[in-house]
Symmetry: C2
Subunit: 429 residues, 2 copies
């Protein structure tokens, strides 16, 4: 006999709708393969028409959260509303009524995991959020149940599909940022207001969640350094390519002897790095564990069905595993007092200058880098044909150095009348 | 209070030794992060010196399985002996005594899962085998707990490190198979008798396990088509490269309307396929799910610590999850009666011929392919400079066709006095 599980879906947008379809179309499959019979008992929507469009009958549609959480047929509440307004209120109400919650809400988990976990624990119910990070890629399950025997020392991810689509297109077509963003919007890969994606807020929340789990300590979102892609210039993608590098928006978490680093920013990586060939709207997370070595998970980071796959995975997991752990975020809103966060982190850099074509320029600039301890791996001076208003591009790749050293060098170089720094981009090995 | 868990390790070879080190060096880490205190209560070895070398004291060394399985301090028995001799006997003895078993033994799980699962079920204990397939890559956990909401329609994997190392080297250095095998043996990537790896027996057992889980039905190892890499010629790697393809030993499982396909053989894939850039001893499994779309997991497929990571993951999972499912292989030794296996499966093909340089050759050969319904996507005739004893290489890439059609075409072509088929290799999109 299959175990009966009743679920409620809050919100029937892209993810909620995909979840409804996945659960109903696979109902017999889950009975046969998972021994669970999952019934969508009720859906909570603002507009009933949204539910009618999916073929949901009137008596399964609710517009009242009190009714939904009081429904004894509902065991698991799936939240796909998003944001921290009613979504938070509804999730807390569900937990207070002893319902296990499955959510796709990265902002909610990143900002309020402590409150939610406390409420879940108090009521003995589960809180699952695989769908909050990297859509269909089972990265949270892997961190919790797959590589949990390792000290995870490093995590690098392409965890936002919109920006990866834009950067991939810019690289393939040699196109500008603005032009490519418009194309992404036209194709539905970017929203009308793209800020959340292109300025890396989306990546920030996800990295906060993933690094909290990977490093076994709360990494609050305000401890994550954030820099978006809106000022990326096509020249830097092209010059990077010539040097054997690819430009990506990477979310990076490192657990170093000096402390934790969590940062999301445009990054140049070697083109033979496994992340370099993750293109278009695909996502991937690359991990280093002290036993397992390098591991990478790759897949679709967003979309109705990939994200539904993660939601449904959590529903089945909740239905088939009775042990619930509450230590994921240690129930704290802030980082542990003994955890140090590194802000002036070390990185290699790609630095592009434009200089006048005259004797002594290189010596002067090299001298400034040397003065601030910035040592150079590679330098390329472009030909006069690539000059811009008579200024010649000069590109440096540095060894690992601190951000402060780079900032000071850049300020000093910009005081010269024959050289200007146009770009600095971090480089990862 | 951390939960106390006692383990026994059977065998202290590469994986057993790595497991011992990982468990002991991470003991405090697991107490802190997993709330479990894992103690290695006893190790079973033939030669006590092996245990002494790892710093294990005399009173924790056993040479008697009866003693080990009767030890009340042992909750979980880790089997890292390998093969189906004493390993099978010992695992059954452990299960009979109510001990949960964690094993790295692909041959044992592939051949005897039905016996082992039955015994585990009878005694209410767990049977875990993440380490049996693809070392550190948590592919079994992902199939069971990550993409379980999907109909998995396809699985393609590079699941043997030895052969991937050899094929990567052959491609990079333009070297012969025999020469590269010797180098792999010298570097420790291939065994003195490499048959198990290069003839794809290793991949066969792993594919049997993985496709059984992915497709929710037992896929016995003798239903898996197997072809090794020992007859791969460097010319084909080079010509494939020119056409934008990479040669890999792929393990392929497909769940098609016509039936199940399970096969491991040299395969040519497009160089932009995520599997094409999986090089050296790295492994990867690429999945297609009906909701999640494409997912790939990448990592080290073998080695002491990566495999130990998988063993330890299972130990922690067993210690922290009380629900055990026994339906993985449906307790059967053979496939379900209603499951059809496809033997004359469809595939695209790379076909290399050597032909005499005279008029009408191409027309004649094309005619033969057409006669047997083999349709051609791409044809390349090499220049006279690449001729071999006056014979010119001619390469065809076909559309999907049956193996029988290819065999018949090849036989017919080989009857001609001016053309010989040198190679046929399957192609996957």
């Amino acid at each position: 006999m299959a175990k009966k599980v009743g679920v409620a879906i809050l919100g029937l947008g892209v993810v909620g709708g995909g979840t409804y379809k996945t659960l109903t179309e696979h109902k017999d499959f889950y009975i046969r393969t998972q021994n669970v019979e999952i019934s969508v008992e009720t859906v909570l929507v603002r507009r009933k028409e949204t539910a009618f469009d999916l073929g949901i009958e009137e008596d399964r549609i609710s517009q009242n959260i009190v009714e939904v959480v009081a429904n004894p047929a509902v065991d698991i509440v799936i939240e796909t509303i998003g944001g921290c307004g009613v979504a938070k209120e509804y999730v807390l109400a569900a937990l207070a009524h002893g319902k296990t919650v499955v959510t796709a809400n990265k902002e909610l988990i990143s900002k309020y995991s402590h409150e939610l976990e406390k409420e879940a624990k108090r009521n003995g119910c589960g809180l699952y959020f695989e769908a909050s990070c990297v859509g269909g890629v089972p990265i949270i399950r892997t961190l919790l149940d797959g590589v949990q025997g390792n000290h995870v020392t490093e995590m690098m991810g392409i965890i936002n599909g919109t920006t990866n689509f834009i950067l991939t297109k810019m690289a393939q077509d040699g196109a500008d940022y603005e032009e490519t963003l418009k194309e992404a919007q036209r194709l539905g890969y970017a929203e009308a207001d793209p800020t959340n994606d292109v300025e890396a807020f989306d990546a920030l929340y996800k990295l906060s969640i993933l690094s909290s789990i990977a490093f076994h300590t709360k990494v609050p979102h305000n401890k994550v350094f954030r820099e978006g892609i809106s000022s990326i210039q096509k020249e830097d993608i092209a010059y990077g390519k010539d040097l054997g590098y690819t430009l990506k928006l990477l979310a990076i978490g490192k657990n170093t002897p000096e402390g934790l680093e969590a940062r999301g920013h445009p990054t140049i990586i070697k083109k033979n790095h496994p992340l370099a060939s993750v293109n278009d709207a695909y996502n991937a997370v690359f991990l280093k564990g002290d036993a397992v070595g390098d591991v990478m998970l790759y897949g679709k980071g967003a979309g109705a069905l990939p994200t539904a796959s993660a939601v449904v995975s959590d529903v089945i997991y909740a239905a088939t595993h009775s042990d619930v752990k509450y230590s994921t975020f240690k129930n704290t809103a802030t980082a542990d007092a003994n955890v140090k966060f590194v802000s002036d982190f070390k990185s290699a850099y790609y630095i592009r200058l434009e200089v006048e074509d005259r004797a002594g320029v290189l010596a002067k600039i090299s001298g400034i880098f040397a003065k601030y301890g910035v040592s150079i791996i590679e330098m390329v001076q472009k030909s006069k044909e690539e000059a811009n208003n008579g200024k010649i591009p000069l590109i440096f790749i540095t060894h690992q150095t601190t951000e402060n050293s780079v900032k000071k060098s850049v300020a000093k170089i910009n005081e010269l009348d024959f050289a200007k720094v146009k770009t600095t981009i971090r480089v990862e090995a």
